[in-house]
Amino acid sequence: MQKVSQQQLIDKAVSLLADGTVSCVLGWTKGEFDYDITPALFTDEASLRQGFVWNDFCGANFSKYLVAKTRKCEGKILVFLKPCDTYSFNQLLTEHRFDREKVYAVGIPCEGMADIDKVKAICGDGISSIDCNGEKMAVQTIYEDAPVQVDASSVLAERCINCKSKKHVAYDELMGDEGDVIDSARFDEVAKLEAMTPDERFTFWQNELSRCIRCNACRDACPACTCEVCVFNNPKSGVENKSPANSFEEKMFHIIRAFHVAGRCTDCGECSRVCPQNIPLHLLNRKFIKDMNECYGEYQAGAEVGSRAPLVNYTTDDLEPGEVFNGRDSDA
């Protein structure tokens, strides 16, 4: 259960619309299923009351939508930001991707989002409705009479288990506390891979990446991927490719994508959330973040507006490319 209720958010949005602070509201709405939440733009009270949704499945990070929406919207847009969304929000501001003046950001606390696959693992398929408002999540399936009561903490998404921060780093208004940065174990999985032999790592990634169907969902959801023209869509870039022709293409796409967002990725986890093949793409980004933290000092993209990312910075005594392996296991 989230600390701030859907009703509170709707009331907030309605009042901000009514007093003219904002002209539209970027929010979540229900899709095909209760857990299938998609972003939507609301412009009046009626549609808000009818369609606005806020529950444990509202994982979508809205920061990215601001790039396109602020260009179109007259007046300000109201956006609700979870703590992790605010980092993307700041990062996009650092990159001048939207006009801050055109946004009214309301920070909302987040208790973590649920992973529907984990719910399904408990309740099975055929979910007809989910009620997240109680102490426990009530999952109704077409096969059972009574809803199954699921502990929300047992179906938390990976990125929420390893949540790096409950702190709102950008907002005009807060509903709840500002929150704190928290110690997370988010690099443990990366470290586990690092401890493997190169052959094991190769097999691991071969397994994962060979499932890629090049649907581009990771790119399309990624708040760092807001390029006007994506290199993968640009015939002159030399890497344009619509579908994975072979195992190399899969790797190439993901390496290039990870490199492109290195230093800019806030580790929001959207890539893995949206991947239909459940590839742990966030591990690639986290690997870069971990390396950069270790080699060039702690850096959190989006923690502040205007900060200089490690890859567009240097010191004269940085370690040499060959030295990044020093001190790591010499398994090669």
Partner: protein, 664 residues
């Protein structure tokens, strides 16, 4: 589709000895776009070049590949050839089959195979070449000289004499710099003031020169030929154009206990002051930290005695904007602090002084009117010990001094020793040295005179400890040649303090995007062949800001910098390097990544209106590269996430085509 001609050079047997040039020419004929391929003994010869020109006309070539020596050798030659044949010079690519092929491989089949691959890569690149034209930018015909010491003075005079206007910015109230503080100059012993002050007057009277004294550069924008500079003129509380320099205010000022920086604090000056009699501009300056009127509104004596009405207690700092075509850095040096060398008791005794202080003590206009007297008790010193290399030639681990040799100390110490012995023959003079370094015209002769004619005691060894005791300075030192530890009761100890660049140099370098070494000396564009230019185009170096120098060297470098500036200002337009970055506005995100890595500040952003794919319009922030500032490194192209930034002449597509050709 390009029509490419391939020309394979034998370079006599240099290439042909290891590479089957005919086979190379033959193989490359089959490459896409190639319509003509041939070989010749010496492609760079007149006959070879004529053949290229002829082939361009005959085969209507649009691109040329020369398989020959390194492009670093003849790229310029063949570009000219292409231009003479009516082709754009940037439609030429060189395959380096000599230095990087025939000369490093021994067997013909291997050499030939590699030469073909290198040729293919060049062909692949030329297929994507586009004609490039260097950009042109106008030149503002005015120079800025930062620093008004002898280096800045000489540079300014030389530029101005060539007919170009020059502004000098000097942070002190007067120009003259360190040389104005010196007594005599080695090796000829003319008086520094006698040779410097006429030059200062020349500067003051030159119709092409403006002096901004008591001023600093606060902002620099723009690029070679087009610098926009903001100069901050500090309030001196005296109207410069009204003050006659009569000195009545200086005489009447009641606050007379301000340490006189011109005499390095060895005597005092009033709160309103003219640094020295020959100051240029000769106008008074009020020291706001000392003046009672400015501090608490009580006094106003100077305003009352000033018949010209020049005093203005309400004066504010003034900012002046000016455009310049070239900037000369002449920020000079200072002796280092002696705080970390207190084994020599500099902080414990007034009679331990630096060499620059010694200059003031012997200068007729100094605190003792030229009489060599001890600062502590005004007595004539009978035993003087000079210590060389204090803070110079130190190991970096010692973290005390400088690693370099300060270069001027050996000579000025010989001068000090000689002059002392000349004027006061009853004085014993000891010089402790590690090495005596006197390369320079008449320098060693000068030093030998000090030893042989003036009987200065040169002792190889170092002073280890100076102990002030009573009115003596007990000097404990080693004499390495006689293998003894010496104990000398000295009256005066003079330390040859290392010199370091002025502290203002580092922030200035940042403003100019000019590079510095770890010692904060400005680096040259090339240490041997371009010693007076900074790597940043349009920024030139004069004097000790570039490295330790004596006066003759400084003056010659100042003249050299001036001639470089004149050469630049004489041009009406500057032609740039066309191989510069450019941004595809359609693809640019305006994210600033490129700007962050650009070492030249060549990238700016502007808001532009674009038609979006959905037929609406939107205003987006996009990058724009100033081709006159961009030097073409390409750092931005990799920082750019969208690939909007590309480098002309080395485009992503071109380099990938080369990769493909090599890996095929």
């Amino acid at each position: 589709m390009q029509r490419i001609g391939v020309f394979v050079c034998w370079c006599g047997s240099n290439i042909a000895g290891t590479v089957d040039v005919k086979a190379v020419a033959e193989a490359l004929k089959a490459e896409p776009g190639v319509v003509f391929s041939t070989d010749y003994q010496y492609m760079c010869s007149q006959a070879g070049q004529d053949m290229i020109k002829e082939s361009v006309r005959e085969h209507k070539l649009t691109g040329i590949v020369i398989c020959s020596c390194s492009p670093r050798m003849h790229e310029a030659t063949f570009r000219k050839t292409a231009a003479a044949a009516g082709l754009n010079p940037y439609m030429v690519e060189i395959a380096n089959i000599r230095e990087q092929c025939s000369w490093v491989h021994k067997e013909m089949p291997i050499g030939t195979e590699k030469a073909i691959i290198l040729g293919k890569a060049a062909v692949a690149k030329v297929n994507l070449n586009t004609p490039l034209t260097p950009g042109e930018s106008p030149v503002t015909k005015r120079a800025l000289v930062i620093g008004g010491g002898i280096a800045g003075i000489q540079t300014a005079l030389d530029i101005a004499d060539a007919g170009f206007p020059v502004d000098i910015v000097e942070k002190k109230p007067t120009i003259g710099g360190k040389m104005a503080q010196l007594d005599k100059t080695f090796p000829t012993l003319d008086c520094a003031a006698c040779i410097l002050t006429p030059k200062m007057v020349d500067v003051a009277q030159h119709e092409k020169i403006r002096i901004f004294s008591y001023s600093e550069v606060s902002e620099v924008k723009g690029f070679v030929g087009n610098f926009d500079v903001t100069i901050k003129k500090h309030a001196r509380y005296v109207k410069e154009d009204v003050c006659t320099g009569c000195g009545a205010c200086v005489e009447k000022c009641p606050m007379k206990k301000v340490p006189n920086e011109f005499n390095l604090g060895m005597d005092n000056r009033p709160a309103i002051y003219i640094p020295f009699a020959q100051a240029v501009p000769k106008v008074a300056t009020i020291d706001p930290n000392a003046c009672n009127m400015l501090k608490n509104g009580k006094c106003g004596l100077c305003a009352r005695v000033c018949t010209a009405g020049a005093i203005d207690y309400k004066q504010q700092d003034e900012y002046i904007q000016e455009k310049y075509g070239a900037i000369v850095v002449a920020t000079g040096f200072n002796p280092i602090s002696m705080d970390k060398f207190d084994e020599f008791a500099y902080n414990q005794s007034k009679d331990v002084i630096t060499s620059l202080e010694f200059e003031r003590l012997t200068n007729a206009a100094g605190p003792t009117a030229g009489k060599l007297l001890r600062p502590s008790d005004g007595k004539h010193p009978h035993t003087i010990v000079f210590v060389q290399c204090v803070g110079s030639r130190c190991d970096s681990c010692a973290q005390k001094g400088k690693e370099y040799c300060s270069k001027i100390c050996c000579m000025y110490t010989a001068k000090h020793a000689m002059l002392t012995r000349d004027k006061y023959p009853d004085t014993e003079v000891y010089v402790f040295y590690i090495d005596v370094r006197t390369p320079g015209k008449s320098f060693d002769e000068f030093y030998r005179r000090a030893v042989e004619e003036y009987d200065v005691h040169y002792i190889k060894g170092m002073v280890g400890k100076v102990t002030p005791q009573g009115d003596k300075l007990k000097v404990q030192a080693s004499d390495l040649l006689s293998n003894k530890q010496l104990h000398i009761d000295a009256d005066l100890v003079v330390l040859a303090a290392a010199i370091e660049p002025d502290k203002s140099a580092r922030p200035l370098a940042t403003m100019l995007t000019a590079s510095m070494d770890t010692n904060d000396f400005f680096t040259e564009a090339h240490p041997k062949l371009r010693p007076v230019e900074s790597p940043t185009a349009g920024v030139f170096l004069s004097g000790t800001c570039q490295g330790p120098k004596d006066i003759p060297e400084t003056v010659s470098q100042a003249g050299a910098a001036a001639s470089k500036v004149i050469g630049l200002l004489a041009k009406d337009k500057l032609k740039g390097n066309p191989c510069v970055a450019h941004s595809n506005e359609q693809m640019c995100n305006g994210c600033s990544s490129c700007e962050r890595v650009c070492p030249y500040g060549a990238i700016t952003y502007e808001d532009k209106e674009f038609r979006m794919p959905d037929r609406t319009t939107a205003i987006r922030r996009v990058a724009a590269v100033n081709p006159a500032v961009c030097q073409g490194c390409g750092a931005c192209t990799v920082a750019c996430p969208s690939g909007a930034m590309d480098l002309r002449g080395f485009m992503n597509e071109q380099i990938m085509a080369e990769v493909d050709a090599i890996c095929k």
